[in-house]
């Protein structure tokens, strides 16, 4: 067969041919397919590449966060260089440092003020679990006791590379989201996290009744603590 000549196909079954043509040129889909194949990927693609963090430095980790946004590590490659001063314009809260009890009401309020969809990245040991300062009387041992956290980045402080890895992990998480399950597309308003109160010590408003009950029942309170041996007791036992 020479070039330029069209190959003529002989149609054996007209129905099959018609179906094939329809499949090729007409988009037939269910609502599910539209969501899975078009809306979700499009939304997620946009979202993952324009995560705007709130410019919110808490402690040492904030300096590494600044280094990440500077020229060498260049956070702009991920579309995240726009550090917003206002929580209303931000999508991501990078909790960069120790959250103290005195600071916690402000952190929770900032989280509540952020517009959905919102993500939280706990940067460093302190924000994740209290870190080296966990035993301190003014330190919250892990912000996840109060607000939901999407990505934890270990380190004290995490290097900029570690933070970038955390941000890429967040992107992967965003990729897997679907509008059918995302909390912010559910009916009704999302409930704000109640502000913790600074009393004689930090009061988690959600636990206020439990605290009151326990404070009035010292016997019950005592049974809740697991005692471990102090060094002196261990020494004494060995003798």
């Amino acid at each position: 067969m020479s070039e330029g000549m069209q190959q003529i196909q002989i149609v054996q079954n007209e129905d099959e041919w018609l179906e094939d043509q329809v499949r090729r040129s007409v988009f037939v889909a269910s609502w599910d397919k539209v969501i899975d194949k078009i809306i979700d990927p499009l939304y997620n693609w946009g979202r993952r590449n324009s995560v705007w963090p709130i410019g919110f430095g808490l402690a040492c980790c904030a300096i590494e966060m600044i280094c990440t946004s500077a020229s060498r590590f260049d956070i702009s490659r991920f579309g995240m260089e726009l550090f917003r001063a206002s929580p209303r314009q931000a999508d991501l809260m990078i909790v960069s440092g120790t959250v103290t009890k005195k600071m916690l009401p402000a952190v929770v309020r900032l989280y509540n003020q952020m517009a959905e969809p919102k993500y939280v990245l706990a940067m460093g040991a302190c924000a994740s679990a209290g870190g080296p300062f966990k035993e301190g009387y003014n330190v919250v041992s892990g912000l996840d006791k109060f607000i939901p956290i999407d990505v934890y980045v270990p380190g004290c402080p995490p290097t900029p590379q570690a933070l970038l890895n955390g941000l890429m992990t967040l992107q992967k998480k965003i990729d897997k989201q679907t509008i059918r399950e995302a909390a912010w597309y559910k009916k009704g308003q999302a409930e704000a996290i109640p502000d913790p109160v600074l009393g004689p010590d930090l009061i988690d408003a959600r636990r206020a009744e439990e605290i009151t009950m326990l404070a009035h029942a010292p016997d019950q309170l005592a049974t809740r603590a697991i005692k471990i041996q102090t060094k002196a007791e261990t020494k004494h036992e060995k003798k």
């Binding site: 430095g57 500077a70 035993e135 041992s141 009393g199 010590d201 009744e209 471990i228």
Partner: protein, 585 residues
């Protein structure tokens, strides 16, 4: 002084000798002294104010370095360190005893304004009341917090044992996490019969501010309270400023601190001496090497350790490199505060990265170096470190500093915004106990590296730049000039660094520190960083107090910004170079 002279023994100048001073006080106030020794002069409570006034006015002890307190089993002891700006030398230690029950001590604020925040801190942490203090409120913790944390009988919720290292956490065959050891299953504790449901938090109040009379024909306007922070892009961390405004004019600024109070001192008193070194890294997280340096100097003084030559040089090289990058970064941050977002800062951070790489090679970590040890440094310098450092110090950094000077110091907007703004006079700067570039920017030539030379700073040839106007521009220029002087020191140190040991004796986890007390200090890029350590001979410090320069510098913020416009407040604060890790500790 010759560059290679043997290290001089640091003797206190006779004018600062406690015995001599005690004699002089005795002749003036016969019954004011309780005792006097090399450890300090103990003054009777009722005479403290007049003795302090006499020291300041007649004996030229015009600078209050540090105020702290120690909780002894039978009494509280309030400790003051005073020194003279012109004379220098080791600071003089004054002490006052307070009863365990209802401790009250006269406030020194009428004599030294710099005592303001420090006394509030003592009140907050130990519950010692200061009679005559204008605004005695909690400063690091919030009002209404239960207990005085630095008292020895205060146990935090996660209390495990008095001293580290702790016993096993596996005595039940599995690890018991801190949350389970506490009955509330969180880092909290409440008094008995506490009603959390009915509890109402206290209402925030503002310190009464008065405006100096500007003009009698001024329009009568109502004062407005403007809250800045704790989350604000230009407060350099989690600082909060309760600002009282009259129109746009600042009537008063009240810094609210403690949003990053991480309990360094309480944790430090439980740690071993060695275990505190990584915590000092996290004080002023820009300058971890300098923090290490000041702390090990304090403990070495107490132990009487001598450091090998090479280690001293390594320490100085690390400390000065830190100073250069800290000052460079600050110049960028100040431009950030002026509205030049990020561009100058990115240039500064680019240089910082080069130094951080070297720190990482030497110590293993970019920021939290944890590099110095008692009697030396942790590791020797890696191969090629000195060549890289020489390249940076001799070629790259001078060029970069020239560039920064060309582009940043002559900028018209910069001059309009900074010249004559945030002025503080020399007298006020001294009286408010400011330190570092803030103090020197006002013309007081006081640098711990010269006033009480530590390490081997007495061998290097360098100047202490001083400003003249005491405004924001001078404080900005101070950073530039000081970075240049640091380069001078670095050039000499890199040339002279000898080979040899880097550590005296063996590496030791558990050092023995003899009984005694010491105030070890070093010149941080932010000012005088001091460590007041009381040792009782055990492996843990009995008292571990940090004299944080940025914290005390903030005392003067109100004085500096009064009468200026609210837009100036940000740059005035920026010129302080506050780092909240150090302010709140």
């Amino acid at each position: 002084m010759a560059v290679n002279a043997p290290p001089a023994e640091t003797k206190p100048l006779s004018a600062n000798d406690p015995q001599t001073i005690a004699e002089q006080i005795k002749t003036k106030f016969p019954d004011a002294l309780e005792s006097a020794s090399a450890q300090g002069i103990v003054i009777k409570r009722d005479h403290l104010l007049e003795v302090a006034r006499h020291l300041r006015e007649s004996l030229t002890f015009d600078y209050l370095n540090n105020v702290t307190s120690v909780d002894f089993p039978d009494r509280f002891e309030v400790v003051y360190h005073v020194s003279s700006i012109d004379r220098g030398g080791a600071p003089l230690t004054l002490k006052v005893n307070a009863a365990r029950e209802n401790p009250v001590v006269p406030s020194l604020v009428p004599v030294y304004r710099g005592a303001d925040f420090q006394e509030r801190e003592v009140y907050d942490m130990m519950g010692i009341r200061f009679d005559g203090h204008p605004y005695l409120r909690r400063i690091l913790m919030w009002d209404g917090f239960e207990g005085y944390p630095l008292r020895k009988d205060y146990h935090e919720p996660y209390f495990e044992d008095e001293k580290k290292p702790f016993g096993t956490r596996w005595d039940q065959g599995h690890h018991v996490i801190a949350e389970d050891r506490n009955p509330w299953h969180d880092n909290v504790q409440y008094p008995a019969n506490f009603d959390a449901v009915a509890f109402k938090a206290q209402i925030d109040t503002v310190r009464e501010q008065t405006l100096p009379d500007v003009s009698p024909t001024r329009l009568k306007t109502e004062k407005m309270i403007l809250n800045i922070g704790p989350q604000h892009p230009s407060t350099h961390g989690v600082l909060r400023l309760k600002t009282t405004l009259d129109g746009e004019t600042i009537v008063g600024v009240e810094p609210v601190l403690g949003y990053l109070h991480r309990n360094h001192e309480k944790i430090g008193e439980r740690n071993t001496y060695l275990g505190n070194i990584p915590f000092t890294d996290r004080l002023d997280y820009f300058t971890s090497m300098n923090n290490n340096h000041a702390y090990v100097i304090g403990v070495e003084k107490l132990m009487g350790l001598r450091v090998p030559e090479r280690a001293e040089y390594i320490r100085v090289i690390m400390a000065e490199l830190t100073r250069v990058i800290s000052h460079m970064a600050l110049m960028g941050f100040m431009y950030n505060d002026l509205g030049a977002f990020y561009t100058p800062l990115i240039y500064a951070l680019e240089e910082r990265e080069l130094v951080l790489d070297m720190f990482e090679a030497a110590s293993g970590s970019r920021m939290m170096c944890n590099y110095m040890r008692f009697g030396g440094v942790a590791r020797d310098l890696p191969d090629g470190f000195l060549d890289k450092a020489k390249h940076l110090v001799e070629e790259r950094f001078p060029r970069v500093l020239d560039e920064l000077e060309t582009y940043l110091t002559g900028n018209e907007i910069f001059l309009a915004r900074t010249k004559g703004v945030g002025v503080i006079s020399r007298e006020d700067a001294i009286n408010y106990s400011t330190a570092g570039p803030v103090l020197r920017g006002s013309g007081a030539k006081y640098d711990v590296r010269r006033a009480e030379p530590y390490s081997i700073y007495d061998r290097f040839d360098f100047d202490i730049p001083v400003g003249t106007a005491g405004d924001v521009r001078d404080r900005f220029l101070m950073r530039l000039w000081e970075a240049r002087q640091s380069l001078r020191i670095l050039k000499q140190a890199l040339k002279d660094i000898p080979a040899g040991e880097i550590m005296t004796g063996k590496k030791n986890y558990q050092i023995r520190v003899p009984k005694g007390e010491v105030y070890g200090r070093g010149e941080n890029p932010k000012g005088e960083l001091g460590f007041y350590i009381v040792s009782d001979g055990t492996p843990n410090p009995y008292r571990y107090h940090i004299r944080a320069p940025s914290f005390i510098n903030l005392t003067a913020l109100d004085r500096m910004s009064k009468g200026y416009k609210v837009a100036d407040l940000i740059i005035i604060l920026g010129s302080h170079d506050v780092v909240m890790g150090e302010v709140d500790r």
